[in-house]
């Protein structure tokens, strides 16, 4: 499984890419793999403000429906709306084409609390039965 080393990760299987004070957020390779064929997405709206841990959207696969929790606090500055039409992109390329939304973060220190790729890989290994 692929966990790029320039990203940070959460226990809820989201990833974060920081660029200045803009966080790009998506779900991990492990998440898309566990969910299976993704068929439907609900994403936050531009301008909405969230605190870390809030439910911001929903991802539905043929197996299950899961909430998306925001790993950081801030205001939504950009949303990957075309993805709603082609949710299978999440299965094909979850780290680039499959990004979900961008946040103008207001607490950059939250980034430091996230897991790096090695910690996340260890967490995933433990999570499996």
């Amino acid at each position: 499984m692929n966990f790029p080393d320039d990203l940070k990760y959460t226990k809820e299987h989201e990833w974060v890419r920081m660029d200045a004070n803009i966080a790009t957020i998506g779900i991990t390779d492990y998440a898309q793999h566990s969910l299976g064929d993704i068929v439907y997405l609900e994403l936050p709206g531009e301008g909405e403000v969230f605190s870390k841990g809030d439910t911001v959207g929903v991802v539905e696969s043929v197996k299950a429906v899961s909430d998306i929790y925001t790993p950081m606090s801030g205001e939504v500055s950009d949303v990957n709306d075309p993805l709603k039409e082609t949710p299978e992109t999440l299965n094909e390329d979850c780290y680039n084409e499959g990004w979900l939304y961008r946040l103008q973060v207001n607490a950059i220190e939250e980034y430091d609390e996230l897991m790096d790729h090695t910690a996340y890989a260890a967490f995933v290994k433990e999570e499996q039965p």
Binding site: S34, D37, V39, E60, V62, K63, A64, E88, P129
Partner: protein
């Protein structure tokens, strides 16, 4: 006996009735219209349908063959092993069908004067008592039509109870292993959900409950045994924590097939519970429904039960709607009466000892299958399960084979696949519930198929990944079916 029942049979293609239709073909001859009433003289022209209804035209043998052929596409409990975990697909004894068809039951009308349906009311009254006995509940309502309907009714009762005390409260605690209907019923009644994580053994954790239980919490919804098929040993302790803050304990009876005749949820601290007659009490399940989800409560909640209530007055039975605190009607008339007759029959046929034995056999079958398959598939449960066992695809992942592939391959061996990917907290779950219906030989056939598939996952994984091969249709595009559902027939 063959090692497994899988084979290739004579399954015939069949078009829709509309494709088969030919103008003028008839299956019945009707007398000529004898009335002089002409509807077109009484309705404005723009309201008249000049084309006639779009109904197919066929002969009787064509219609008969059509439906018989379609029926052969179906897999059902009368055809074979149906280990759908969490759904308790048990055999529906044919004596249930006999009793439900007795003219006194089948031909009665809900508007009949009560003195002419005393037997029907007596059956309802006694069924309430029987179910109360099985669940350890003091009062029962039979009207809800399904498990989820029972949940909705139960949570409404919980809300009415709190409202009568002056405060409906805000939320309900639900473990992360719950059926999806639990949070849905909670939300429909205006409560928010507080999810608590199961402990490392998959059990409800009293400490986790104590942390979130406040006087803003209306109660807790618990499935016992849990969706992991494990007995919630901490339930009395959890109930004490919830009761201490004035909350109520709702027990989801979906898995009652593991307790019936052995343990009573009412004795574990439950204040409200529902029963799935279409699971535990052998009435038709799923598309073959309709179902019934009676709700039982402790005495202090009786005033809130739905109306009407069946009451015994001397030797006579009657109904009352004089229950000012009731949540009201949840269903027209007397619920799914025919289903209630079937459940009553099942209980009377088996008796107390028989119900207990059914539970013991259900638990034995599930443990037998687990014991035979635990070296082939990684079990999810860390202790001995009750009526269902959970295996995972962890060992098979090494060969690139997933739970879904194994489920599809099982169809080639002549079995309905088990529930897959539930409970959600178990990655790659296969949830197997044989029920007491199955003989040792039937369990052995299933075990043989599962072992053979485990061997194939290693030796010829492509064969499993591209399954099914022997079924009427090959693997369906489930993603497309969800994204572009075709729900109606169009010309």
């Amino acid at each position: 006996m063959p090692a497994t029942p899988g084979g290739t049979g004579l399954i015939l293609e069949e078009a829709t009735l509309f494709d088969l239709s030919r103008p003028g073909r008839k299956g019945a001859s009707l007398p000529a219209v004898s009335t002089s009433f002409n509807v077109s003289k009484h309705l404005p022209a723009d309201l008249l349908n000049t084309d006639g209804p779009n109904l197919p035209e066929l002969s009787e043998p064509e219609v008969n063959r059509h439906f018989v052929r379609l029926s052969t596409w179906n897999y059902n409990k009368d055809a074979g092993f149906f280990p759908l975990g969490s759904c308790t697909m048990k055999y529906n004894p044919k004596v249930n069908e006999w009793s439900a068809r007795l003219p006194g039951f089948a031909a009665s009308h809900p508007y009949q004067p009560l003195e002419t349906v005393q037997g029907n009311l007596e059956l309802l009254y006694n069924l309430e008592k029987f179910l109360g006995e099985v669940g350890g509940m003091e009062c029962v309502t039979l009207w809800p039509n399904a498990g989820a309907h029972g949940e909705l009714t139960g949570i409404q009762i919980m809300r009415s109870y709190h409202l009568a005390k002056g405060n409906a409260r805000k939320s309900i605690i639900i473990p992360d292993s719950a059926h999806g209907t639990n949070p849905a019923s909670t939300a429909l009644c205006g409560y928010s959900v507080i999810q608590v994580k199961s402990n490392e053994k998959g059990h409800l954790d009293p400490e986790a409950v104590a942390k979130v239980m406040t006087e803003d919490v209306a109660g807790i919804m618990v499935t016992n045994p849990s969706t992991l098929g494990l007995f919630e040993t901490h339930l009395p302790e959890v109930a004490e924590i919830v009761h201490a803050k004035g909350g109520l304990v709702y027990c989801d009876g979906a898995n009652l097939n593991a307790l019936m005749g052995v343990a009573k949820l009412g004795h574990c601290g439950a204040d409200i519970m529902h029963y799935n007659l279409h699971k535990t009490f052998s009435t038709p399940h799923g598309g073959g429904g309709p179902g019934a989800g009676p709700v039982g409560v402790k005495k202090h909640l009786e005033p809130f039960l739905p109306v009407p209530r069946v009451v015994k007055d001397g030797d006579n039975y009657t109904i009352t709607e004089d229950c000012p605190q009731s949540v009201g009607r949840v269903r027209a008339f007397f619920g799914n009466f025919g289903v209630l007759v079937r459940a009553y029959t099942y209980i009377r046929e088996l008796g107390a000892d028989g119900l207990k034995l059914a539970t013991q056999m259900a638990v034995l079958n599930s443990n037998y299958i687990l014991a035979k398959l635990k070296d082939d598939y990684q079990p999810a449960q860390k202790e001995r399960p009750l009526h269902e066992c959970i295996l995972t695809d962890k060992k098979q992942q090494e060969f690139g084979v997933k739970t879904l592939d194994i489920a599809k391959r099982l169809m080639d061996y002549g079995f309905h696949p088990p529930t897959v990917y539930f409970p959600l907290i178990v990655p790659g779950a296969m949830m197997i519930e044989p029920t007491e219906t199955e003989s040792k030989e039937a369990c052995d056939q299933f075990i043989t198929a599962m072992k053979e598939i485990a061997r194939e996952c290693e030796a010829t994984p492509e064969k499993v990944k591209s399954a099914p091969h022997r079924t009427f249709r090959r693997r369906l595009d489930e993603a497309k079916a969800v994204k572009e559902p075709k729900l109606i027939w169009k010309k």
